[in-house]
């Protein structure tokens, strides 16, 4: 990004302060419940109470010591990673086809591919469950992964389409004029430029899969449950800090994945046109 105009040098910028204050307040709104979760995870009382009475690590202990929890955490991470890869591949290629492929009925096709977002996931889960049973395949892990992918693809599709629609084709044309083959143009010009869209979609896909509950409810098997399912069941009987501890761990893990993704792919475009 080239040089901007000089920063306003007035001693007190009311507008700027209001802007920052507003954003700080909004951030507070977003983070307040998480602060509560942290307190809950460290509070010794075995139910939600406020104000907190102390600090303890026993809930984290309980979480890490529970085989159920750990297995579920691992399964959720593994599933989410597979979903991330699959949905980027499938959603990305679908977006390219829709944006560039001159397909008939593009509007309808786009709406079609977005429709999993609008349906209550419990129906998606039930429908898939019934179909799996009818087909006689039981409930394998890949069935769970594909079920999540179905729900994740619309996100990748959306964000990638947004980037593609705003794409300035002249850059590609320039590269072609300069002698690059279509393949090279695609891999060295197009793909890097749509990366932010793909990344944003990928982040969504990972999170949506990691946090997915209703579809998983129907598609998991005993001893092969994802973390949200285990937590939900746990919560029905024991509303204690273990779920808060689980939540903290999930947040930290998922955030690391997101950060890693950002390093690899990058959300902020550093190439302005």
């Amino acid at each position: 990004m080239t040089a901007t105009l000089p920063i306003n040098r007035r001693p007190f910028d009311a507008g700027q302060t209001a802007y920052l204050a507003l954003n700080a307040a909004l951030l507070f709104f977003l983070l307040a419940p998480i602060a509560v979760v942290v307190v809950f995870a460290l509070n010794p009382t075995p139910y939600i109470s406020f104000p907190p009475v102390g600090v303890t690590l026993r809930w984290f202990h309980k979480f890490f010591a529970g085989a159920d929890f750990m297995n579920a955490l691992y399964l959720s991470l593994w599933t989410a990673t597979c979903v991330l890869v699959l949905s980027i591949a499938i959603g990305g290629s679908c977006a390219l086809a829709l944006a560039r492929g001159n397909l008939p009925g593009r509007g309808w096709l786009t709406a079609f591919f977005m429709s999993p977002l609008m349906l209550p996931a419990i129906l998606t889960g039930l429908a898939l469950f019934q179909s799996y049973l009818l087909a006689g395949i039981g409930r394998p892990v890949w069935g769970l992964i594909l079920g999540h992918t179905l729900i994740a693809v619309p996100y990748v599709l959306r964000t990638t389409l947004a980037v593609l629609y705003n794409f300035d084709r002249r850059i590609e044309e320039a590269a072609a004029v300069l002698g690059a083959s279509p393949t090279r143009v695609f891999f060295e010009v197009t793909l890097p430029l749509i990366r932010p869209g793909v990344f944003a979609g990928g982040v969504f896909a990972f999170i949506v899969s990691f946090d997915q509950f209703p579809v998983s409810l129907f598609l998991v098997v005993p001893n092969g449950e994802t973390l949200p399912v285990v937590l939900f069941n746990y919560m029905k009987y024991d509303l204690d800090g273990a779920i808060a501890a689980a939540s903290m761990v999930s947040i930290l893990l998922a955030l690391s994945v997101v950060l890693a993704l950002e390093k690899l792919i990058g959300l902020k475009t550093h190439v302005k046109l």
Partner: protein, 282 residues
């Protein structure tokens, strides 16, 4: 390039169209035809919804759309400033931090998030105990188990989606356009309203569409935050599936919800395409 659509098409046909085809077909049966030989073809599930003798089904549909709309608008009002701030931020570190702060709510998990809100909103929760200890109110405010609590919790989950969508679009708007307006004499606010805002319209529409679609299909959060004061169509579907042995009726409700949503989405897409096309900028 068109052939690239094949994997998505395959995935959707096998895992979406077919299962839902099965479910839509079943919504025309009185019971599960595969397992129950007595099942007959019937439209009574749809009739039940249209008749609505107890008056709750139509209300559920309106409640669903209403909550969806309010959630979307509030999420937009909250999400836009955050997205603008994030997109315009110069420091890479600051950007990363805000990104994490925005994404974190999405990661808390559906169960814990609700309990966090319970802690904050319930009668003995943070807000009420604080306000009462400062003697600002006498009785606890009813912040939970109603539409207010539901919308609040939904907004909280969906603002990140709005922010990430908007940030991408706003980030692509050339800042120099706004600066040009400023240098021509427009105040900051005016430059924003007349330059940046219109240019970010595609993002606003895309983000709103996403949040709306998500909030009309949500049911776990409204169930936990709304008590019985809130009954949305997805909650009704979940009840029918989980406790009423009515997959046929649930399927019919799902078909109805899907049709209503598709109509809204197609309309949105038309507007979106027209507005983007009319931009006419280089």
């Amino acid at each position: 390039m068109a052939w690239l659509i094949t994997p998505a098409l395959l995935l959707f046909v096998l895992f979406f169209v077919l299962p839902f085809g099965v479910m839509a077909v079943m919504s025309f049966f009185s019971a599960n035809p595969v397992s129950n030989p007595n099942a007959v073809l019937t439209t009574r599930h749809y009739e039940r919804f249209i008749e609505d003798s107890a008056d709750i089904f139509h209300d559920a549909l309106w409640a669903t759309l209403r909550i969806g709309l309010v959630t979307t608008i509030v999420a937009l009002l909250i999400g836009y400033p955050l997205a603008h701030w994030m997109a315009r931020m110069q420091s890479r570190l600051g950007h990363a931090l805000v990104l994490m702060a925005v994404i974190a709510p999405m990661l808390t998990g559906i169960v814990v998030r609700t309990f966090a809100w319970m802690t904050i909103l319930q009668d003995k929760g943070v807000i009420n105990t604080t306000l009462m200890s400062w003697s600002l109110i006498e009785k606890p405010l009813p912040l939970m188990y109603n539409e207010f609590g539901t919308v609040l919790a939904l907004v909280h989950i969906y603002v990140p989606f709005m922010v990430l969508t908007l940030a991408g679009v706003i980030g692509r708007i050339d800042e120099r356009l706004e600066q040009a307006a400023r240098s021509l004499g427009a105040g900051r606010l005016r430059a924003f309203v007349e330059v940046t805002l219109p240019l970010s319209l595609p993002g606003i529409l895309a983000g709103s569409l996403l949040v709306f679609a998500l909030s009309i299909s949500a049911y776990v959060t409204p169930s936990m935050m709304g008590g019985t004061q809130v009954l949305t169509l997805p909650m009704l579907i979940a009840q029918q599936v989980g406790t009423s042995f009515n997959p046929g009726f649930a399927g019919a409700l799902g078909v109805i919800l899907l049709l209503v949503s598709l109509v809204i989405i197609v309309a949105y897409n038309r507007i979106l395409a027209r507005l983007s096309g009319e931009r006419g900028l280089a």
